[in-house]
Each structure stands twice: as structure tokens, then as C-alpha cells.
């Protein structure tokens, strides 16, 4: 369970570093965000939600069934889109309206 930060996309805003509940993200000398301890990620996705340029990708470690997929998320008004990229190149999107409660 961890995240990957895409340096090409990162605009060095520092929001992910600010919000991580484990203080795991640091800003490197190149001013870009980096995760100092990938093994210490809890997988809460707080940083993924905070990054407005979608530079942070979330994946499952191979030891817990990861098989190459990764996920990111975008917010548009009340709708949160979860975008899942699968290893075969296909993309699946799930939309959740913030105003709706869980049914379970």
C-alpha cells in the first residue's frame, strides 16, 4: 500500500506534505514532493485528494494483491471522481456525490 509521486506533474505546492497524517512526505532539493518512507504509508489517500494536479498515484503493494493498477481522484463541485487505471490500459471511473449518504 503506497503512493507514487509523479515529479513531472508536481507543481511543488506542498499541500500533500501538509496533510499527511504520518508526516511521510517531504519536499526534496528540487522542490518537488517525495515520499520519504513508502513502506510507512497507511493508504488513507489524504494526499491524493489534496493534490489538485493529480500528481499522486495510489497503488496496492504486491504483498497485498497489487497487480499494476493505480488510482487517483478529482473533485468537481459535489462530485468526487475516482479514476482507476488498470495494468491492461483500461480505465474505470466511479463517481460519488458528496451530498449522498452511504446506503450501508
Amino acid at each position: 500500500m503506497s503512493i507514487r509521486i509523479n515529479k513531472e506533474k508536481c507543481v511543488a505546492c506542498g499541500k500533500c506534505r501538509e496533510v499527511c497524517p504520518g508526516n511521510l512526505i517531504k519536499i526534496g532539493v528540487d522542490k518537488k514532493a517525495q515520499i520519504r518512507h513508502p513502506k510507512e504509508c497507511w493508504g488513507c489517500t489524504s494526499c491524493v485528494k489534496e493534490c489538485s494536479v493529480n500528481a499522486i498515484e495510489f497503488f496496492l503493494g504486491a504483498d497485498i494483491g497489487g497487480a499494476g493498477s493505480w488510482m487517483l481522484t478529482k473533485e468537481e463541485g459535489d462530485i468526487r471522481h475516482w479514476i482507476i487505471h488498470k495494468s491492461d490500459g483500461s480505465v474505470k471511473t466511479i463517481q460519488i456525490n458528496k451530498k449522498n449518504s452511504n446506503q450501508y
Binding site: M1, S2, E18, V19, C20, P21, G22, N23, K26, R36, P38, K39, E40, C41, W42, G43, C44, T45, S46, E50, F58, F59, L60, G61, A62, D63, I64, G65, G66, A67, S69, M71, R80, W82, I84, K86, K92, I94, I96, K98, K99, N100, S101, N102, Q103, Y104
Partner: protein
């Protein structure tokens, strides 16, 4: 290291669920009290609520009473509860829920406009943004100062009274020495004591936040506070690998626990929280594993709702379903027990407190997962405890006539203590590297706890001899931890996280030894004493005195308990 001395009326350590709600309660009261939150991460997404939660697990639904909730929790904990704490908590559940709704939490309503119940005690919500909602409300309070990224390590005492705390900024090497009229400890429970389900790359893919390392317990133990019921460990029944909660599947679509032969084994073991875990452990031991939640055959609509519900609280489980290309309707969900945690919001471990949430140390209050005696609090119970502690603080500050500006005065003892703590930080930062790394000590601790103090590897069982060995080894590791080298503040944070866990481990071992019975399967499975014993129908409490853990047995009683 630069030192910043701050003075405040109320210091809240930990800006999580209970801490934020205490701040809101204190801020809304007239009187201009200065409130300061010291939070190791950032209150926006820190602690248990970071990813979101699925439901409000503690609510008094129509037709039920707070006393019903007390009875339920008491039964689930095999009587080892403080009824006074449970009742005051239960009476506040609906009050704080109404406030959460005002703050913007979406709660499902039925056609009559009432909250839609899930089972007997839960209500359904969209809990993805519950922490940002709380944090935004706190940030709007003028009299609340928030110190994010400040990790507190030690309480300051003067004349037997808690008068502040010391900590450090996690990246900029500032030491914070905070003097306060009252201190609320709200740092949550302790994870990472035992070797986790996924010990490799995904070692932090655990249920409880790996960043809640028991700091609040450790600072209280070291300052001489009385603790209760650590031996009632919490072991969660969770989805295999992702360690995501199972309640949503079990209650949401009514899925039953089945073994590899498809047999429902729930009724063979009972349905209390610990019995559900125990049943799964026993089925595996008997060669009937793996165990599952039987979801095959649910509808496509139910699949869709489950995928969404998990994105709102444990997104890795949804990713896993998509990764496997098998929805729950096509494949039962495998379940397993987690490593044990110490969590006063689920079981009854934590500070021994009075009805108003005062600890045994004057000037120190406790709320949420760090506070003991009151299991099954969950989110709403933590909020109520934050509120109750805030009210007690208001009352006590008023009665003592404490003036603003008085807290530095006459605190030579407090100042000296702060200097000693700064000395320990410098010791770690300045010393030469030794043979042991931070990771090595952490792994060694988790191995000892796993093998000798009833971790996953030993089927959650332990005996006297093993506990003695565990204590010996943990004591040795405490010495190694004192000599760890910190290259920077980030290392210093990790060293403290281990030191805190080691302190909690020692108390936990002493508690496990002191309850010579098996009252709760798995949570406290003592192989030398396999059954329940009426003699132990009492609390096991402990106090650290002159470096030794002293056990105190206290009787169960109805009504208020004087502490």
C-alpha cells in the same frame, strides 16, 4: 535547537476527533480562554478519521435508551466496564450527532425525516469528509491556536500537578515548551506494538492509524497516572490484506461468516466482538480456513453501493475488488483477525478517569481512545468525551480562580523538567550512530510481542513464562532505544514513536499477567488460565512508581466511582 515557550489556559494534545470537539466546546464558552492544540500532523486529516468513516457506530436510535447502550457495552466486555462513564457518554451521543449535522455531515434520513438506522445502534452517513468538517469549524474559532506538526512527548509536572507539556516540531527543530492551566490528553490509542498482518512492504496497511503510537498513554504512565484494563486488547476482524472494516459488508448486505466449507460458524462461538474474532481463529486452527464473509450472490446494485461505501472510508478495498476483477457478488470476501491494538474507544483500555473525564493527575484530563473504562465509544463517543472533558476544565479553572498569565509563576520544577527533556532530544540528535537502526528496534519489539505476548503468530495466546520473557526483552529494547541516533527531526519522531510503544508494551505485559483468567477470547487468551474466574470480576489497574509497574485491583460498582 531553538526553544519556544508558550503559555495558554488550556493545552489540548492531539487535534483528532476528541481534541477538536473539546476545542469547539471550550471556544464557544464565554470568558476568553486561550486554547492551544498541539497536533503531530495537521488537524485537517489527522488520526482515525483521515480516510473517512463509514457510519456513526454509536447512536441512540428511536425506541432505545442510553441505558440500553450501557447494557450492550457491558455485556460485550463481559462486565469489565465503568457504568458511570458509559452512561454519561451514551447520554451525549445524539447531542453531538446533531452538532455534526450542523457542521455539514451528511446523514441518511428515512421517509419520516428521521435518521435511518443500521441495526440497533448505528446510523448511516457519508463520512469521507468528517475530519475536514471538524477541522474547518475549529479553525474558525478566534481563541483557538493550532500548532500543526508538533509532536508532544512529555508532560510537565510541578508539585504533583500537570502544568504543561513538551514536544518538538517534526521538521524545523524547534522545541515547544507549553505551560498551561489545564492539559487534555487526546492522542488516540496505540498501533504498531505487535507484528502486523502485512509485515513487509505494506506493514502500515493496518486498521488503526500507525501514527497513533500510544504517546498519550506513555506520557501518562511516565508521569504516574493510573491506567486501566490494558489487558483487554482490541483485535479487529477485517478484510484480508487491505485490513478494511467488515461491518459495512456484514451489516450492510447481511453477509454471514463462513468457513472454507461454506458453513456459517458464527453461532458456534457467539457474537460478541471478541467471539467473532475467536471463531475465525479457531476455524483456521482446526484446518477449516480461510474464512469469509459470504457475499456471493448479492445483487449488482449491492456491489455498486459497496464499492462506493469503501471509497468513502477504506479506498484500498475498492481498488482491490477492481484489481481482482471480481466484485463481492462473485467472490466471498476473505477475513482475518488483525494484530492486537490498545484502543480505549473499542475496548476499555486507557486512563483511569472520573465521570467528568479527570485523570488521577490533577490538571490532566483524558478523552477518546486514550481514555479507559468506556468501550464502544467510536466517533460520537469520542466527541462526547471531548465535550465532557472541556466542561470539567472550564469548571475547574473557574473554581481555582486561575488567572491568565499565572502559569509560568512558581514553576521552577516544570522548567527544570523541560530542560531535562530537551537534553534527551539533543542526546539522540548529537550522539554518534550505534549498531542498531530505528527499524531494527521496531521489528525486534514487534517480534517479541508477537511471539511472547500473544500476537497473530501465537494465535493471540500467551502464558506466564512467555510474558516474563516478553518483559525481559522489552526492557532490554528500551535501553537500545535510548541510544538510537537521530540524523534529523524526522528520525527523532520515529525514535519517540518506538519509545512510546515500548512503554505501552511493558504496561500491557504487566496487565496481561495480572488478569489470571481468560475473560475474553483472543483479546486476552491466557493459556495457563483458560476459563473465566469470578475472582477477576474487577478492574486491573496500574501505576508506574519508582520505575516499577504496580498493579492495583479495583472493584466493579454501579454509579460514580471516586478516583
Amino acid at each position: 535547537m531553538r526553544t519556544e515557550k508558550i503559555e495558554t489556559d488550556v493545552l489540548i494534545i492531539g487535534g483528532g476527533t476528541a481534541g477538536c470537539y473539546a476545542a469547539l466546546t471550550l471556544a464557544s464558552e464565554a470568558g476568553g480562554k486561550r486554547i492551544l492544540i498541539a497536533e503531530k500532523a495537521n488537524i485537517r486529516r489527522s488520526g482515525c478519521l483521515a480516510a473517512g468513516v463509514n457510519a456513526l457506530n454509536a447512536y441512540i436510535i428511536k425506541g432505545r435508551t442510553p441505558q440500553d447502550y450501557v447494557e450492550y457495552a457491558k455485556k460485550d466486555a463481559e462486565n469489565i466496564v465503568r457504568e458511570d462513564l458509559l452512561l454519561t457518554m451514551s447520554e451525549g451521543l445524539n447531542r453531538v450527532t446533531a452538532r455534526l449535522e450542523e457542521l455539514g455531515l451528511v446523514i441518511l434520513k428515512n421517509e419520516n425525516g428521521e435518521y435511518a438506522a443500521r441495526g440497533n445502534r448505528n446510523i448511516k452517513i457519508n463520512g469521507e469528509n468528517i475530519k475536514p468538517l471538524l477541522a474547518d469549524a475549529v479553525r474558525k474559532c478566534d481563541n483557538v491556536q493550532i500548532l500543526n506538526h508538533v509532536n508532544m512527548t512529555d508532560l510537565l509536572l510541578a508539585d504533583g500537578r500537570v502544568c504543561g507539556a513538551v514536544g518538538f516540531h517534526v521538521d524545523d527543530s524547534t522545541v515547544y515548551e507549553i505551560h498551561a492551566g489545564a492539559v487534555l490528553c487526546a492522542t488516540g490509542g496505540a498501533a504498531g506494538l505487535y507484528r502486523p498482518n502485512n509485515p513487509g512492504f505494506s506493514r502500515h496497511k493496518m486498521w488503526y492509524p500507525p501514527f497513533n503510537t500510544g504517546a498519550g498513554y506513555a506520557m501518562g504512565i511516565q508521569a504516574g497516572a493510573e491506567m486501566t484494563t490494558f489487558e483487554m486488547r482490541f483485535i479487529a476482524l477485517r478484510c484480508k490484506d487491505t485490513i478494511a472494516p467488515t461491518g459495512t459488508i456484514a451489516q450492510g448486505v447481511g453477509a454471514k461468516q463462513v468457513n472454507v466449507f461454506g458453513q456459517n460458524y458464527e453461532k458456534n462461538y457467539g457474537i460478541t466482538t471478541s467471539q467473532r474474532v475467536y471463531g475465525t481463529v479457531e476455524e483456521n486452527r482446526a484446518g477449516r480456513g480461510p474464512c469469509y464473509l459470504h457475499t456471493e450472490g448479492i445483487t449488482g446494485e449491492q456491489d455498486k453501493e459497496l464499492l462506493k461505501a469503501y471509497l468513502n472510508m477504506a479506498p484500498s478495498q475498492t481498488l482491490k475488488w477492481i484489481e481482482e476483477e471480481k466484485n463481492p457478488s462473485q467472490k466471498d470476501v476473505e477475513i482475518e483477525g488483525t494484530e492486537p491494538y490498545i484502543v480505549g474507544g473499542h475496548t476499555a483500555s486507557g486512563y483511569w478517569i472520573d465521570r467528568e473525564r479527570r485523570t488521577t493527575l490533577p490538571g490532566l484530563y483524558a478523552a477518546g481512545d486514550v481514555a479507559g473504562g468506556c468501550p464502544q465509544k467510536y466517533v460520537t463517543g469520542a466527541l462526547v468525551e471531548g465535550e465532557l472533558a472541556a466542561k470539567a476544565i472550564q469548571k475547574d479553572l473557574k473554581e481555582s480562580g486561575a488567572d491568565q498569565g499565572r502559569y509560568f509563576a512558581g514553576q521552577t520544577a516544570g522548567n527544570q523538567a523541560a530542560a531535562a527533556i530537551r537534553g534527551i532530544y539533543s542526546h539522540h540528535l548529537k550522539k554518534e550512530p550505534g549498531p542498531y537502526s530505528i527499524d531494527q528496534v521496531e521489528e525486534a519489539m514487534q517480534k517479541v510481542m508477537d511471539q511472547y505476548a500473544g500476537g497473530i503468530g501465537s494465535g493471540y495466546r500467551y502464558n506466564e513464562k512467555q510474558l516474563d520473557l516478553a518483559d525481559e526483552k522489552i526492557t532490554l529494547l528500551q535501553k537500545l532505544a535510548m541510544d538510537l541516533k537521530a540524523e534529523d527531526m524526522d528520525d527523532l519522531l520515529h525514535i519517540y514513536e518506538i519509545k512510546e510503544r515500548l512503554i505501552v508494551c511493558r504496561s500491557l505485559i504487566a496487565h496481561l499477567k495480572a488478569r489470571k483468567e481468560t475473560r475474553w477470547h483472543s483479546f486476552g487468551e491466557h493459556s495457563d488460565y483458560p476459563g473465566k474466574n469470578k475472582k477477576y470480576e474487577k478492574f486491573v489497574n496500574s501505576v508506574l512508581k519508582d520505575g516499577r509497574i504496580q498493579i492495583i485491583y479495583r472493584t466493579l460498582q454501579k454509579g460514580d466511582i471516586e478516583i
